[in-house]
Symmetry: C2
C-alpha cells in the first residue's frame, strides 16, 4: 500500500491524487512520510519529523552527528542496560568515594592528633555496616516496586505527597551538588598533576567542558554512556583491587609496604570529641548516592529488571565494601598520613605498594581522576529519571517527562548540566564550600524511603512481612541517626542552606501541581456528555479596521459558518468611515457593516462593549468573533503594530455566549 516514491524536491510532497477522490479521512498518506500501522492508525516515518527550513535541517543534521540517529519508541528495549553497563553508570559515584573518603576522615581526625588515626578502621567498619544495611533495605524495595522504587515513589505511595516531595527535593539538590563537586575535584586533581592548567586558570572552563561532555554522552542515551564510561571505571576498579591485593600478599609474605616519608599536615589541635568522630564518620559515608539511583533506575535494566537491579546493587556494595576496608587497612599498614605537600593518601599507598612511581602507580592515579569526573554520571542517570517521574505526577514541568530523540530524558539532562555549570561558575570552581551540603539529602531520602517501606509491609502483610519490616525499620532508624549526625556535625558549615532550598523546592513543586490540577479541572469533559451537531443558531462578527486581506480572509471564513456575518468598524473619523463603507458595500456581498464611532479614540473597549451587548441581546444565538491578525515576522515589529487583536482575544475569551477565533494571516508562500 505504501508505494515507494522518489524524493520530490519541492517543499510540499506531491500526493498520489485520484480524480474525484473527495473522502476527507485520509487513508492514503504520503509514502515518504507515513506508513500504515496496526489498528487502523498511520505511522510517521523519520522523514516526517525532519525540519523544513535550512536552519532546522542544519540543526537536525548536527544533532545526528553529535547524538546519533533518532530512536523510535519501539527501540526502547534495545536501549536497556545489561548488568556490566549498569554497574559503571550507577556505581561511578560510589567508586569515586573510595578515592577520597579515607583521606577526608583522616583530615578530620588529624585535629585530635595522629593517635586518632587509630579510629579510622572502626569508623570504616561502621560505614561498611551501614552500606550493607542500606543495600539489604533497598534490595527489598526494588523487589516490592519493580517499576522503580526510588525514595520519592515509595515515600509518596506510603507516607503521602509531602514526604515524597521532600525526598525528591533532597535528592535533586544532592544530584546537582554531586555533579558540581565531583567534576570540580577531578579537574583540580588533574591540575595538581598538570600545572599549566592552573597557570592559565583553565580549571573552570575545563570543569564546564567536562560537564558538557558528560551531558552530551548522556543525551546519546544511557546505554552509550555505559559503553563509553565502562572502560575507565573498570580500569580504576582493577587498579584498586590490584593495589589492595598486592598489599595483602606483601604483608602476608612479611614484606609490608611502607609509605615514603612526608611532612604531616599540620592540623589545629582541638582534642578528641564525639563531634569530631561524628564529622569523620559523615565525611566517610558521603557517597551512597548510587544505591538510590539503582532503585529509581530499575526500568532501565534488561528484563528481569528487578533481579538484575538487585544483583547490580549487591555487586556494587560488595566492591565498595571491600575496597573501602582494604584502603583503610592499607593506611594502617603503610603508615600513610595526610600530607602538607599535597601528596594524597592514595598516592602514598600506591607508591608504597608499587615501590615508587612505576607505570602501575600512574595508571592508578590517572584512572582515579577519571573516575572522579565520571562520578557525575550517577547523577546524570538518576536526576532526569526522577524529574520525569515527578513530571508524570504533575509536580515538575511536563517536558521533563518526554523522552528525547535518543529516548533519554533530555530536558532533565540539560537542566542538570545547566544548573551545575551555573553553580560551578558562581563559585568560581571553589566548590569545597558546597561539600558540607552534600549527602545530607541522600540520607534524608533514605530515611523517608525506608519508613515508607515499613508502612508498606505493615499494610500488605504478605508472607515474611515481619522480617522485611524489621530490615527496613532498622534501615530507617540508622539512616535517621546519620541524618541527625550530619545535621549536627555540618550545620554550622553550611548544611542549613539545604534547610532553605529543600522547602522552597517543595513549595515550588506543590504550586506546579496545583496549577496542573486547576488546568485539568478547567478542561475536564464530563464522561457522560455527548457532542453532536450544532444546536444553536450563530452569528459571526468580524472586527475590521480597513479593507485588508487578513480581514477579508476572516470574513470569507465567517461566511462558511453563518448566513449572518457582520463586520464592525470602529473609527474616530466618520468621513473616512463613510469612504470605507462605500468600498465595503461594493466589494463585500452578503455581509452587514456596523460603524461604531468612538470619539474618545479608544478602539478596543467600545468594540468589546458592542460584542458583549450583541451576545447578551440574544442568548439563543452563539456569537462567533473572528479576529483577523497579521502574523509579524520579527519581534521588533511589535513596536510598529499595536496588538489590539491580542487585547480583543484576551477580553472576549471565556465570555458566555461568545466563541473567539483568531484568524492569523500571512502572505501565501
Amino acid at each position: 500500500m505504501a508505494d515507494p516514491q522518489p524524493v520530490v524536491p519541492s517543499r510540499i510532497p506531491r500526493s498520489g491524487r485520484k480524480p474525484g477522490d473527495r473522502r476527507v479521512t485520509v487513508d492514503r498518506p504520503e509514502a515518504r512520510f507515513f506508513r500504515y500501522g496496526e489498528q487502523g492508525t498511520i505511522v510517521a516515518k523519520v522523514a516526517a519529523i525532519e525540519p523544513d527550513s535550512r536552519a532546522g535541517r542544519l540543526g537536525f543534521g548536527a544533532r545526528r552527528v553529535l547524538f546519533g540517529r533518532v530512536l523510535s519508541t519501539h527501540e526502547e528495549m534495545e536501549q536497556r542496560l545489561p548488568k556490566w553497563k549498569a554497574l559503571p553508570i550507577f556505581s561511578s559515584d560510589v567508586m569515586s568515594s573510595v578515592a577520597y573518603a579515607s583521606e577526608a576522615s583522616m583530615f578530620t581526625l588529624a585535629a585530635a592528633g595522629s593517635v586518632a588515626y587509630g579510629l579510622l578502621m572502626p569508623i570504616s567498619i561502621l560505614i561498611v555496616a551501614l552500606l550493607i544495611l542500606v543495600t539489604f533495605s533497598y534490595r527489598q524495595t526494588i523487589r516490592a516496586y519493580p517499576n522503580g522504587g526510588g525514595s520519592y515513589i515509595v515515600a509518596r505511595a506510603n507516607l503521602g505527597v509531602l514526604p515524597g516531595l521532600i525526598a525528591a527535593a533532597s535528592l535533586l539538590v544532592d544530584y546537582v551538588l554531586t555533579v558540581a563537586v565531583s567534576v570540580s575535584s577531578g579537574v583540580y586533581n588533574l591540575s595538581a598533576a598538570v600545572p599549566i592548567l592552573d597557570e592559565f586558570k583553565l580549571e573552570v572552563p575545563l570543569i564546564v567542558i567536562c560537564i558538557l561532555l558528560v551531558m552530551t554522552v548522556n543525551l546519546r542515551g544511557l546505554k552509550e554512556s555505559g559503553s563509553l564510561f565502562a572502560a575507565p571505571t573498570y580500569i580504576f576498579l582493577g587498579s584498586m583491587l590490584l593495589v589492595i591485593g598486592i598489599g595483602v600478599v606483601r604483608t602476608a609474605l612479611g614484606n609490608a609496604p611502607v609509605a615514603p616519608p612526608t611532612t604531616p599536615f599540620p592540623a589545629a589541635l582541638e582534642g578528641m570529641s564525639l563531634l569530631l568522630v561524628m564529622r569523620a564518620f559523615a565525611d566517610g559515608c558521603s557517597a551512597m548516592t548510587g544505591t538510590e539511583a539503582v532503585a529509581n533506575g530499575v526500568p532501565a535494566f534488561k528484563p528481569p529488571e528487578w533481579k538484575n537491579a538487585q544483583m547490580t546493587m549487591v555487586i556494587m556494595s560488595a566492591l565498595l565494601g571491600s575496597m573501602f576496608l582494604g584502603m583503610s587497612w592499607l593506611v594502617g599498614v603503610t603508615g600513610a598520613v595526610p600530607s602538607a605537600t599535597g601528596d594524597s593518601i592514595l598516592s602514598q599507598i600506591g607508591a608504597a605498594v608499587y615501590d615508587g612511581r612505576t607505570p602501575l602507580y600512574y595508571i592508578l592515579m590517572f584512572s582515579t581522576m577519571g573516575v572522579l569526573i565520571l562520578a557525575a554520571q550517577t547523577s546524570f542517570a538518576d536526576f532526569p529519571r526522577l524529574a520525569s517521574i515527578l513530571a508524570k505526577d504533575g509536580f515538575f514541568p511536563r517536558q521533563f517527562a518526554f523522552r528525547g530523540e535518543r529516548l533519554a530524558f533530555s530536558s532533565g539532562i540539560v537542566a542538570l548540566a545547566i544548573v551545575s555549570i551555573v553553580l560551578v561558575v558562581a563559585f568560581g570552581g571553589d566548590v569545597n564550600r558546597l561539600i558540607p551540603l552534600y549527602a545530607i539529602g541522600v540520607f534524608t531520602s533514605f530515611t523517608l524511603s525506608q519508613s515508607g517501606m515499613v508502612r508498606h509491609w505493615w499494610t500488605e502483610r504478605g508472607p515474611g512481612w515481619r522480617r522485611s519490616a524489621v530490615i527496613n525499620g532498622v534501615g530507617a532508624m540508622v539512616t535517621a541517626v546519620v541524618v541527625v549526625i550530619f545535621a549536627i556535625a555540618k550545620f554550622a558549615l553550611g548544611a542549613w542552606i539545604v534547610l532553605i532550598i529543600v522547602p522552597v523546592m517543595v513549595v515550588g513543586m506543590l504550586l506546579i501541581g496545583r496549577e496542573y490540577r486547576s488546568a485539568q479541572v478547567e478542561l475536564h469533559v464530563r464522561p457522560e456528555s455527548v457532542i453532536g451537531p450544532p444546536s444553536r443558531g450563530q452569528r459571526v462578527i468580524v472586527p475590521m479596521q480597513d479593507m485588508r486581506r487578513d480581514a477579508i480572509q476572516a470574513i470569507k471564513l465567517g461566511l462558511t459558518m453563518s448566513k449572518s456575518v457582520v463586520a464592525v468598524h470602529v473609527t474616530d473619523d466618520l468621513h473616512a468611515a463613510e469612504q470605507f463603507r462605500a468600498r465595503f458595500e461594493e466589494q463585500v456581498r452578503g455581509v452587514d457593516l456596523v460603524i461604531v464611532e468612538s470619539p474618545y479614540r479608544e478602539f478596543v473597549r467600545p468594540l468589546i462593549r458592542y460584542l458583549e451587548f450583541t451576545a447578551e441581546k440574544d442568548p439563543s444565538v452563539v456569537t462567533i468573533v473572528l479576529i483577523p491578525e497579521r502574523i509579524i515576522k520579527h519581534w521588533w515589529e511589535r513596536f510598529l503594530y499595536n496588538q489590539s487583536a491580542y487585547r480583543l482575544r484576551d477580553a472576549l475569551t471565556g465570555h458566555p455566549g461568545i466563541i473567539v477565533a483568531d484568524v492569523p494571516f500571512r502572505r501565501p508562500r
Copy 2:
C-alpha cells in the same frame, strides 16, 4: 431612541431585550454605552471606554485626576490656541535665550581680552538680522502650507523623502537636547541661589521632576500648557522690558546705570580670530527653535490658523529682537562683564538698573529661572507633533499618530520626556557637554526648508513668486552659512556626534517605512475583487491531544462550518490512543478520528506533514485547521505547557489551501 437606563451594577450590561428579536445587526445598542450618531452609525459614550477590572478603573480614575476628563475628538476645536496662549508655548525657548545668549557670546569673546566685548553689539545686530530673515521666510512658508509647514513637510514635498527625513531627524535630536539642556541650566541656576539643593545633590532628581511636570502638563493638552505657563513667561517678558525701559530712560536722563564692581572672569587669552567671532556668533543664535515650532504647529491655532500663526511669529521675533538688542546695549552702558564669582550678566544689569537687589531685581531673576525651565515647553509642543506627522507618513511607529485621552499626542510627549530624562541621568545632570550639539539641527532643517520653498515657488509660479523665491533663497543661503559656521566652530567640541546620530535615525525611519509598506502590499485587497458566498467545499481538522474542553470547543465550532470534521490525534502510545478512541467514539458524534502514531515522539511536525498532505490531496476543498488553545493566565505558565499551538499556527499559516484559526479557551467567567 437611546432611552436612558439606570446604571446596572453587573459587569455586563443588561440589555433592553425584546422577545423574538433575532436580527443580528444591532440597532438598539445599550444606552449606557452607546447612542445613535449621524449617518446610521452608533457612537460610543465615555462609559464605553471605562475599563472593567479594578486595577483598570483605578488607573482610569487616577488619570482623570491628573489629566482631567477624557476629551472627544469633536472637542478638538475648543482645544485650539488663541494667540496669547500660543506665544508662551512657542516662544519659551526663544525668550529664555535672552537670559544667557549675550553672556555666552561674551564668555567666548573674553578669550580675546575685554576689548573684544565691543564686538558684542555688531554680533547681536547680525543675529537679529538673521532672526528677521528667518521670520520672513517662515511667514511665507506658513502661508503656503496652512496645514503645517515645518521643515519636514516642506523638504519632503519639494526635495524628496531623504531631505525630509534629514530635516526631521535633526529637529528631533535638537528637541531632546533642548529639553535636557534648558531644564538642567534652569535647575542649576536655582541651585546657585538655594545652596541646600547642591549640598544634598538634589539637582538631578529635581531636573527629572521638572521634566515630568512639564510632561504631565502637556499630557493635559496644549491649551492647558498655555494657560499654566503663560504667567511666568509674561512676568519674565514684563521684567525684561522694564529693565531695558528703565535703563533707556535713565541713560536718556543722564543717570546711566552702572554695574557693581566684580572680579572679571579670567579667560585664557588666545587672541582675536575669525573662528572666535564665529563661535561667539554661534553661541548667540542658538535658540531659534520656536520659529520651526510655530510653522509645524499651525493646525493648533484657532482659525484662521495661518494668519494667527504668522502674527504670533512676528510678535515673537519682534520681542526677541528688541530684548536681545536692549540687553546687548545695556551691557555696553552698564559695563557688565563675565564674572569670576558667578554673578551673571543679567544679574549685574538688574542690580545696576534697579540700584541693588530690590524686589524688582528678584522678580527678574526668579522669572528668568522659571523661563529657563519652561524653555522645554517649545520642544514638548513640537516634538510630538512632528512625530505624529512622521507616523502618519509611516516613518515612525504608528502610535505616535494617535491623539491620547486629552487630544494631545501622548506617545510623543512621553517619549520625549523619557529620552531626555535618560540623557540627563546618563550625563549626571552635567549637560554642558551637550551644548555644542545643540542648535545645529535647527539650522540644518531651516536650510532644507528654505531650499524646499525656493523649489516650491519655482514650480508654482503664482503671482509674486519671484519675490517669495528670493526671500526664501536668501534665507536658505544664510542659514546654510550658519550651519557651516556651526560645524566649523563646534565640530571638535562634539558636533560630530550629530553627524552619527542623524544618519542612524534617518536609516531607522527608512526601515520603518519599508516595513509598513511591505505590510501594506501584503494586505492589499484589489479594488475590483468582490467577496461573496463561499465557492469551495471545506473540511475542518482539529488537532486533539486529549478529551479536553478546549478541543471540544474547537470541534463544536468546526461542526458549524462543515459536515466533514476530522480530529487528529498524534501519539507515541498506541495503547493510550485506543482508549482515547473508545472514549471519543462514544462522546463525539459525526466526527472522524485519525490516529497518527509518531514513534519518534515529535508531535507537531508529523501533524504538519499530515495537514499539508490533506490540503494537497484535494485542492478543490479548503482545509480549515482549528487549533484549540487554552489561554494561560501568567507568564510563568509558559514553562509548564509547551507551546505547540503556537508552533502549529506558525507553520501552517500562509500555506496554500489551508486556513488556520486559533480557538482560545478559557473557563467561562
